[in-house]
C-alpha cells in the first residue's frame, strides 16, 4: 500500500495569487489586526463628538480624557491579563483602593518615608493578587468565586484599616502624589501617571507578543488542558498572571492617589465593571486566549471619550446612561461589522 512514486511537492500555486481589490486589501489588514475595529470605533466617536462641540477636539480636553481614563486603563491592563487566561477579576477595585489606603496609612499614620510606603503598598497589592492566584491554582476555585470572595474581604479590611476616613494628599510625602503632576507637551498636559500608564501598556504589549511568557498566557487561556498536555506549567502561568495583575492594581492605586490628591476608601465602586468593559470593548474575548492589551487601551479611551463627549454635548444626566448604553451597543456592532467584512 506504500506509494513510492511521488513528485516533489509543488508549492501551492494559489499562494501567490493575490486578490488586489481595495476591499480585499482592507479585509486582510483587518484580519491581521483585530485592534483596528475598536480603533475605528474610537475615531468615529471622536469625530462625532468634535462635530457636536468644537471644544471637544482640543489639546486640553483630549489631555483631560487621557487623565480621566488613566487609572481605569491601568486596572484594565491587569484585568486583560487575567481575562486572557479565561479568568475574571472582581477584586480589581478592592485591591486598588485598599492598596492606596495602605500606602497612605504607611506614609502618614505610620510615618514611613514616601518611597518605603510606596514600595510596601506595591508589595501589598502584589500579595493580594498572589492570594487570588494561589486560590485559583492551588485550591482550584473558579476565578469568579475567588475574586468575589477576596473582593468582599479586601473591602472589609479597607474599611477597618482606613476607619472609612480619607487621607489628604497634602499630609502625604510628595512622592505619593507625584503621579498627578502634569507636564505640558505642546498644548497637551500629560500627567506622570498617564506616562506610567502608557509605559506599562508598552511593556505588556511587548511581553505578550514577544516573550515566551506571553505565548504561555495565550495558550493557557485558549485551552488549559491542551496547554497542560503540551507541557506548559499552567499553574505557574496563572499564578504569575494574578500576581502581576495585583502589582498593576497597586501601581494604579499610586496613580489614583496622585489624581485625587488623596486616598479615599470610598472610591472605586465601578472599577470592576469599568475595567471589564474596557477589556471587552477592546475586543478581548471573555473566554480567554484571544485579544490583547492595545485593544484594552482603546476600549478605556472609548469609555472616557463617551463620558466626556456626552457631557460636553450637553446631554442631561438622566439621559447619559441611555446614551452610553446605546453607544456601547453601536460601537460593538460596528466592530462586529468590520470583522465580518474580513470574511
Amino acid at each position: 500500500m506504500t506509494v513510492t512514486k511521488e513528485a516533489t511537492p509543488p508549492t501551492p500555486d494559489f499562494e501567490v495569487r493575490q486578490h488586489d481589490s481595495l476591499g480585499l486589501r482592507l479585509q486582510h489588514l483587518l484580519h491581521g489586526n483585530p485592534t483596528l475595529g475598536p480603533l475605528a470605533v474610537l475615531i468615529v466617536a471622536i469625530l462625532a463628538f468634535s462635530v457636536a462641540n468644537t471644544r471637544f477636539f482640543s489639546a486640553p480636553n483630549l489631555s483631560l480624557v487621557l487623565a480621566q481614563v488613566t487609572v481605569i486603563a491601568v486596572l484594565a491592563l491587569g484585568q486583560t491579563l487575567i481575562i486572557l487566561t479565561a479568568g475574571i477579576d472582581l477584586s480589581v477595585g478592592a485591591i486598588a483602593v485598599f492598596s492606596s489606603i495602605l500606602m497612605a496609612t504607611f506614609a502618614t499614620r505610620m510615618g514611613l518615608p514616601g518611597i518605603l510606603a510606596l514600595l510596601l503598598g506595591l508589595v501589598a497589592g502584589t500579595a493580594m493578587g498572589a492570594l487570588n492566584g494561589f486560590l485559583v491554582t492551588r485550591i482550584k476555585l473558579p476565578p469568579f468565586i475567588v475574586t468575589l470572595g477576596t473582593l468582599s474581604i479586601f473591602f472589609s479590611l479597607n474599611a477597618v484599616v482606613s476607619n472609612s476616613e480619607t487621607v489628604r494628599g497634602s499630609d502625604m510625602p510628595g512622592l505619593m502624589t507625584w503621579t498627578g503632576t502634569t507636564i505640558p507637551i505642546g498644548g497637551f498636559r500629560l500627567t506622570y501617571g498617564s506616562i506610567i500608564m502608557l509605559l506599562l501598556f508598552a511593556v505588556f504589549f511587548y511581553a505578550l507578543s514577544s516573550t515566551a511568557w506571553g505565548r504561555h498566557v495565550y495558550a493557557t487561556g485558549d485551552d488549559l488542558e491542551a496547554a497542560r498536555l503540551a507541557g506548559i506549567r499552567t499553574n505557574r502561568v496563572l499564578f504569575s498572571v494574578y500576581t502581576v495583575a495585583g502589582l498593576l492594581y497597586a501601581i494604579g492605586a499610586w496613580i489614583l492617589i496622585g489624581r485625587l490628591a488623596s486616598a479615599s476608601p470610598n472610591v472605586g465602586v465601578d472599577y470592576n465593571l469599568d475595567s471589564i468593559t474596557a477589556v471587552v470593548l477592546g475586543g478581548t474575548s471573555l473566554f480567554g486566549g484571544r485579544g490583547g492589551v492595545l485593544g484594552t487601551l482603546i476600549g478605556a479611551l472609548i469609555v472616557g471619550v463617551f463620558r466626556n463627549g456626552l457631557q460636553l454635548a450637553g446631554v442631561e444626566v438622566v439621559w447619559q446612561g441611555f446614551a452610553i448604553g446605546l453607544l456601547v451597543l453601536v460601537a460593538v456592532s460596528l466592530d462586529q461589522w468590520i470583522r465580518k467584512v474580513k470574511s
Binding site: 483631560l64 476616613e165 472610591v267
Partner: protein, 326 residues
C-alpha cells in the same frame, strides 16, 4: 403598642442602627455615637448597612432581622424615604420605636421621631454665604452643580435646591434637580459623592464652560475631587467651592482654603440622642418631641468658613475642627 418585654438571649435589650452604607465616614460617626449611648444605657446595639446609597432592600432585611431579634427600637437613615415605610410600619406594629436619622421618611410621620439635619437648610446656608461673598466682590456667578447620582434621592435634591434657593435662583419644582433655566448655572453632573467622581465631573463641566467660578458639591469628598480638577486647570484661586457635611477632613479643607464654606452636621449627636430616646421609651414609654415649629428634631447645621460674610452666622475652621461631626 405592647412590646413583649422579652428581649431574647443575653438579657440585654437590643437596639438597632441602620445606615445607608458602612463605609461613609458620616455613618461611621453615627455608629460611634450610637455605640457610646448604647453602652451608657446598657443596651445591645446591632448595626446594619446597605452596600450602596439607595439600597432599600438591605434596609428592609435589616428591619426584618431586628424584628426577629426582638429589638426595642431602631434608628434608621432611610436609603429610600418612601419605600422603607411599609417595613417601618411592620416594626411599629411589633411595638418598636423607630427613629429616622439624618433623612426623614416620606411621609415624615411614618416614624416616631426624626433626628436630622435640615438638608434644605444646610444647602441654603452655603447658598446664602456664596451669595453674600459674590455680592461683596460684585462677581457674576457661573455655577457648577456637582450632585450625587442620577436617582435624585431626597438628600441630594434637598441640598441642591436649598443651595439654589439660598443663592437666590428660582428653583422651579423643589423636588427636582436640574429643571432650572437660570443662565448662571453652567450644568449639573454626578459624582457618586466621592473624590474620583468629583474630579471627573468638574473637569468635564470646566470643558463645557471654563468661566465657572462657583462650585456646589453634594459632599466634601466630591469637593476635594473638584478642587483637584480646578487646580490642574490653574483655576483653584479663582473659583469658590461650597459643600455640605462638616467632616474632619472637610474642615481641614476649609482651613486650607480648598472649600470656601461648608455646612456642618452632627451625626454623632443625632445617633446618641436617638439611642437615648429609645432607651427612655423602653423604660417608660415616652416618645421624643419634635423641635418647635418643625416636624422633626433638628440637630442643627452650622456654617463653617474662614471667610465670614456680614449677616450670616458662621463658625471658623478652628471651632469646626473641635466639633467636626460631633
Amino acid at each position: 403598642a405592647a412590646c413583649g418585654g422579652d428581649s431574647g438571649s443575653g438579657g440585654e435589650a437590643v437596639v438597632g442602627l441602620i445606615t445607608k452604607t458602612d463605609t461613609n465616614p458620616f455613618f461611621v460617626k453615627m455608629k460611634e455615637g450610637a455605640q457610646q449611648a448604647a453602652d451608657k444605657a446598657g443596651l445591645k446595639l446591632q448595626s446594619f448597612a446597605g452596600k450602596q446609597d439607595g439600597d432599600n432592600e438591605a434596609q428592609v432585611q435589616a428591619i426584618e432581622n431586628l424584628i426577629s431579634a426582638g429589638a426595642k427600637g431602631f434608628l434608621i437613615t432611610p436609603s429610600d424615604s418612601k419605600a422603607i415605610v411599609p417595613s417601618i410600619d411592620k416594626a411599629k406594629q411589633q411595638g418598636m420605636l423607630v427613629i429616622a436619622l439624618d433623612t426623614p421618611t416620606d411621609p415624615a410621620n411614618a416614624v416616631d421621631a426624626t433626628f436630622a439635619t435640615d438638608n434644605f437648610q444646610a444647602g441654603k446656608l452655603i447658598g446664602q454665604w456664596a451669595k453674600a461673598k459674590f455680592d461683596k466682590e460684585s462677581k457674576q456667578a457661573k455655577i457648577a452643580m456637582l450632585d450625587l447620582n442620577a436617582n435624585q434621592v431626597s438628600v441630594d435634591v434637598k441640598r441642591d435646591q436649598g443651595f439654589l434657593e439660598g443663592f437666590g435662583i428660582p428653583v422651579g419644582d423643589v423636588n427636582k434637580i436640574g429643571d432650572e433655566s437660570d443662565p448662571r448655572i453652567v450644568g449639573h453632573d454626578v459624582t457618586d459623592g466621592a473624590e474620583d467622581g468629583g474630579r471627573t465631573a468638574m473637569e468635564n463641566l470646566l470643558q463645557k464652560d471654563p468661566s465657572i467660578n462657583l462650585v456646589y458639591t453634594i459632599n466634601e469628598p466630591a469637593a476635594a475631587g473638584a478642587y483637584q480638577a480646578l487646580k490642574a486647570a490653574g483655576k483653584d484661586k479663582a473659583v469658590t467651592i461650597v459643600s455640605i457635611d462638616g467632616g474632619c477632613p472637610g474642615v481641614d479643607n476649609v482651613k486650607a482654603g480648598v472649600i470656601g464654606a461648608t455646612s456642618m452636621q452632627f451625626p454623632l449627636k443625632m445617633a446618641s440622642l436617638g439611642i437615648e430616646a429609645i432607651s427612655a421609651f423602653a423604660k417608660d414609654g415616652t416618645k421624643p418631641q419634635a423641635s418647635s415649629g418643625k416636624d422633626f428634631v433638628d440637630t442643627g447645621a452650622t456654617l463653617i468658613t474662614d471667610q465670614p460674610q456680614a449677616g450670616i452666622e458662621a463658625k471658623d475652621s478652628a471651632w469646626g475642627k473641635q466639633n467636626c461631626w460631633g
